[in-house]
């Protein structure tokens, strides 16, 4: 197994600031916009973006929810393992809101397909956008593309893109891992 650093902590920080600015460009004061972090790994990206938007761009009280897609996945009973769920926490209605899905890596697009179905349990959003820190292009199984993209990465199927965060793994880094 070998691994290569794709993004360092400094680069991730710059990218997150750019993504935050792009969000402001489209959503201004976030009055009708909510951020939804896709469990488990999109939550950290969403929390960082919320922090940057609130602390550095002084946008008050960004609404952030966590969406777990386990029960909406299309590979139930297809793998060897039972799919384990994470917590869903959405304390507001998404009816009529502009929803921004936030995830760390966009790969096949199947998680986002599941998230599109799952979010309907909480109302009918006015529109849904997708923000992803890493976009693995050429590996999509479905016609899904991000609206906000941190970095585009070309990786072959045996390779895995791993994102680590200071809060849980000790350091902000994006790795390309070759198994």
């Amino acid at each position: 197994m070998s691994q290569k650093v794709l993004l360092t902590a400094k680069e991730i920080n710059i990218i997150l600031h750019r993504l935050a600015c792009q969000l402001i460009e489209n959503h201004l004061d976030f009055k009708d916009t909510v951020l939804i972090g896709i469990q488990p790994r999109g939550v950290r990206v969403a929390e960082r973006l919320k922090k940057i938007l609130e602390e550095e761009y002084h946008i008050e009280s960004i609404r952030l929810g966590y969406l777990d897609i386990t029960f909406f996945r299309d590979d139930f009973r297809r793998g060897d393992k039972t799919l384990e769920a994470n917590k869903t926490r959405i304390d507001f209605l998404v009816e009529g809101k502009k929803v921004v899905f936030v995830d760390d890596v966009l790969y096949t697009g199947r998680s986002i397909r599941a998230a599109l179905t799952a979010i309907q349990s909480f109302g009918r959003p006015a529109e849904i956008e997708l923000l992803t820190l890493i976009d693995r292009r050429f590996s999509r199984h479905l016609p899904i593309q991000p609206d906000y993209r941190g970095r585009q990465v070309d990786a072959i199927n045996e390779e895995k893109v791993e994102v680590t965060w200071k809060e849980q793994d000790g350091e902000d880094t994006v790795f390309l891992v070759n198994k």
Binding site: D68, T70, F71, F72, R73, F76, R77, R78, K81, T82, L83, E84, A85, N86, K87, T88, T117, A118, Q120, S121, F122, G123
Partner: protein, 309 residues
């Protein structure tokens, strides 16, 4: 972790502690799901479940059916009263006929103890025991423990007394296994005639004085007297039973602590429990019913994920 150690839920006896932990963690997620505006998830859309009830049931059947539907499974229902069982068909034949219609999972209630175990050895489907005679009722015990965990934080170290008809109660036996597995202490309380002779071999204490039992416990699980199962008289009159073993407000208020009151339903108001207690803030009877759906969703989800396509 992350997978059950069993392929069927036949009884708590066959489970390990980690299975119960996994069921409860999964049930936490489903409890959140059933409190959403849209209470349904598509996980089991390619799974078909047959509910076979060879014995009457209202709440268990409804609870299972709702759990199955909230998981998007296809459901077929069968009651013995309207079936070929009356015409002399055997259990294995009945079930195999139903399975020929491509059913993946069977939820069965049956008057004979061990019916679920027997069936699991002879047919090719995942079996959930929804009560087999006076033997086990595993999902009831799971939802009882889940409700205790929800109210008191954890089950380990808690003292639980099961009051009433222990002899004929599958709820009592499954609860004893479940509570002990999670590290709770269990006592049973009731008329001597309704307490099995060898109950102490399960490591369960016996108390025939209700007040003493209540003073000892953190949780009291009040069982219904199952007159329909009794072929002889185990106590002189219902009135006398109520005088000795009824949980009423006066008794509850005279204790020097606040205990949690449970009942698996259906309640005989005025017999084992009075209305003012059943409707009080200390009773978690309706929470048990709500949790029943979430716990059954978890059990069905975890067992279904072990059925390979």
């Amino acid at each position: 972790m992350s997978e059950l150690s069993v392929d069927h839920l036949l009884g708590i006896k066959y489970l390990q502690k980690r299975d119960i932990d996994l069921i409860f963690e999964t049930a936490d997620h489903f409890k959140e799901v059933i409190n959403r505006p849209i209470k349904k998830v598509p996980s089991l859309r390619d799974v078909t479940i047959a509910n076979l009830f060879f014995e009457n049931s209202t709440r268990t059947k409804l609870s299972f059916e709702l759990a199955e539907k909230r998981l998007s499974a296809d459901v077929i229902n069968f009651s013995a009263s309207q079936s070929s069982v009356k015409k002399g068909e055997t259990l294995i034949d009945t079930v195999n006929n139903i399975l020929s219609m491509k059913v993946d999972m069977v939820v069965m209630r049956h008057p004979n103890p061990g019916a679920g175990v027997f069936l699991s050895q002879h047919v090719n489907a995942s079996i959930i025991n929804a009560g087999d005679g006076a033997h086990e009722h595993p999902t009831q015990a799971l939802l009882d423990s889940y409700s205790i965990r929800e109210r008191l934080g954890e089950v380990a170290g808690k003292k639980v007394v099961i009051v009433g008809d222990i002899l004929y109660s599958r709820v009592a036996l499954s609860n004893i296994f479940a509570l002990q597995l999670q590290g709770a202490e269990v006592k049973v309380c009731g008329p001597k005639t309704l307490i099995p002779k060898y109950i102490h071999t399960l490591g369960v204490g016996v108390e025939t004085n209700l007040r003493k039992a209540l003073e000892w416990c953190d949780v009291a699980n009040m069982l219904r007297v199952q007159n329909e199962r009794m072929d002889i008289s185990y106590f002189p009159t219902t009135r006398e039973y109520a005088q000795q073993f009824q949980l009423n407000k006066t008794l509850l208020d005279s204790l020097n602590k606040e205990i949690v009151v449970m009942h698996p339903g259906p309640i005989n108001r005025g017999v084992e429990i009075t209305s003012d207690v059943a409707d009080s803030g200390q009773a978690i009877i309706l929470n048990q019913v709500e949790n029943g759906v979430a716990v059954r969703m978890a059990v069905i989800y975890l067992l279904a994920s072990k059925i390979k396509q």
